[in-house]
């Protein structure tokens, strides 16, 4: 079946401001330990949002709930208006994910990895191959299509993982600390590439990180600390409001001003 022959559903074609990701009142605990408390924020389409927090802030827990690796105990999460718990197929088919750990199958070639991913979304045959080719071209990795994933550098693997996450044309791209373990050049390259994607493809991006220098003034910034959202604003505005010199300074002031019970 060709793409053109597929039935179109107008719900997502409207210009209604349905956010790419909507998180409402999410709370989650691991036995006695509260990992997330009343977390709420949106990621609009065409926005680059950074979820900034120290290690252990709850970023990966939130990431796991959004990707439905397990279910939230309280609150709701919607991808383009589709509730992750009640409409998982609709929500997950609009979601592209890059996990913190490397998830390429090292024994398979780049193309085989992409085709496997396509099949997990019910896309096969010529359509899957065409999408894989197109995605590789867009990420400038076409010449590595038949290389084993094992021989790629860390930066190239990340690029392929991003290509894979984009293959089924999601509306929301989640990246969990995607630059961990990469050198400075590779980090910069990946970050620039994803920012371009936001501009060119109008997708929403949620980029989780603990690296402050990855935040730019125009980004939507959400600061997560000990499972709670302490601030959400355009990064430049937050810096001005906090009276800081830069995002790092603003982050420190927000953390220092946090209620002391959060540190308990």
């Amino acid at each position: 079946m060709t793409l053109a022959s597929q039935v179109l559903v107008p719900r997502l074609d409207t210009d209604a401001p349905v956010p790419a990701l909507s998180i409402r009142d999410i709370s989650h605990s691991y036995r006695e330990r509260r990992a997330l408390v009343d977390v709420s924020f949106d990621v609009p389409r065409g926005a680059f949002a950074v979820l900034l927090g120290l290690n252990g802030a709850g970023k990966t827990s939130l990431f796991s709930l959004v990707t439905r690796l397990y279910a939230a105990q309280h609150g709701s999460i919607a991808v383009l208006g589709f509730d992750v718990a009640r409409e998982p197929a609709q929500a997950l088919s609009r979601l592209g994910v890059v996990f913190q750990a490397r998830t390429l199958d090292l024994d398979l070639t780049v193309m085989q990895n992409l085709l496997y991913h396509a099949s997990l979304h019910g896309i096969g045959g010529r359509e899957g191959r065409a999408l894989a080719d197109d995605t590789l071209a867009r990420t400038q990795m076409r010449e590595r299509a038949h290389d084993k994933a094992r021989v790629l550098s860390g930066g190239q693997m990340r690029r392929i993982e991003i290509a894979r996450a984009l293959l089924h044309r999601p509306s929301l791209l989640l990246l969990d600390e995607p630059t961990v373990g990469l050198d400075v050049n590779a980090r910069k390259s990946i970050l620039t590439y994803v920012r371009e994607l936001v501009a060119e493809e109008n997708i929403g991006v949620l980029w989780t990180t603990h690296l402050i220098d990855e935040v730019e003034d125009g980004d939507d910034l959400v600061i997560l600390h000990r499972g709670r959202v302490l601030a959400k604003a355009i990064a430049g505005e937050l810096v001005a409001r906090a009276g800081a010199m830069n995002v790092g300074g603003a982050f420190e002031r927000v953390i220092v001003a946090a209620p002391s019970e959060l540190d308990a």
């Binding site: 079946m1 793409l3 597929q6 039935v7 179109l8 559903v9 719900r11 997502l12 074609d13 691991y30 389409r45 990966t60 796991s64 990707t67 439905r68 690796l69 397990y70 279910a71 998982p88 197929a89 609709q90 929500a91 997950l92 088919s93 609009r94 979601l95 994910v97 996990f99 913190q100 750990a101 490397r102 998830t103 199958d105 024994d107 398979l108 085989q112 085709l115 496997y116 991913h117 396509a118 099949s119 997990l120 979304h121 019910g122 896309i123 096969g124 045959g125 899957g128 089924h168 044309r169 999601p170 509306s171 060119e200 493809e201 109008n202 997708i203």
Partner: protein, 283 residues
Amino acid sequence: MTSSAVTKSGAPARTHFGLHQYAICMAGIVWREGLRFLHQRERFISALVRPLVWLFIFAAGFRQVLGVSIIPPYETYVLYEVYITPGLIAMIQLFNGMQSSLSMVYDREMGNMRTLLVSPMPRWFLLSSKLIAGTAVSLLQVYAYLVIAYFWEIEPPTPWGYLTVLPALILVGLMLGSLGLLLSSLIKQLENFAGVMNFVIFPMFFASSALYPLWRVQESSPWLYYVCQANPFTHAVELIRFAFYQQLNVRALAIVLACGIVFMAGAILAYNPAIGLSLRRAG
């Protein structure tokens, strides 16, 4: 019917999945498992060497010691090698089922498992596809073993036996694979897999009718006989033994089916996001 929505970026995000998409997804999972199997030649060789060592050394050595009287489905006295072949076939499938669970734990630790579980397909379907893929691999191993065994003059009474044993092999593969899936959800780390060898594989294999007929077990130890009867692996072996001789052991079939359903239901529950047992443990 399949439908899809086109996003502003021209995105073909699907809203519903039809049979065709399910078939593509399952084929993709089986294809990947097959590729991994081909890349791991040592896995194939060790899967063959293990039962062949039992056949060529253990069975040959014990041929004179362990007599097997005429019991169904056999109508004449059979060599000990012939008797233990169904048990060795089931052993191949047992090890393969556990190997699959090992690879699930490995995938979970390495993160590959997450790419599978964030697929929009239902989780029960993804796990079932994984199970079918593992069973298909076990069939390759079993028939490779049967080819070698043929040259050792171990064969069914008629060549049809190779065909009639196939449904039994599929059912046993699914049952043992489901057990592997369930175990993979309970194992925290790869290192704990040694415990599976000690507490699952060896007891299941030895406390069964794989190596000796149950009437002999009953003579020597009545309680062990009941343990063997309660062991689903015993019934897996008997299902294969009868099917190889073009006969159906209804009791074995019922028990293998029931155990397969229970194990699979347990695995689906354990991988349910609302319970999230395995993933929560994995962090």
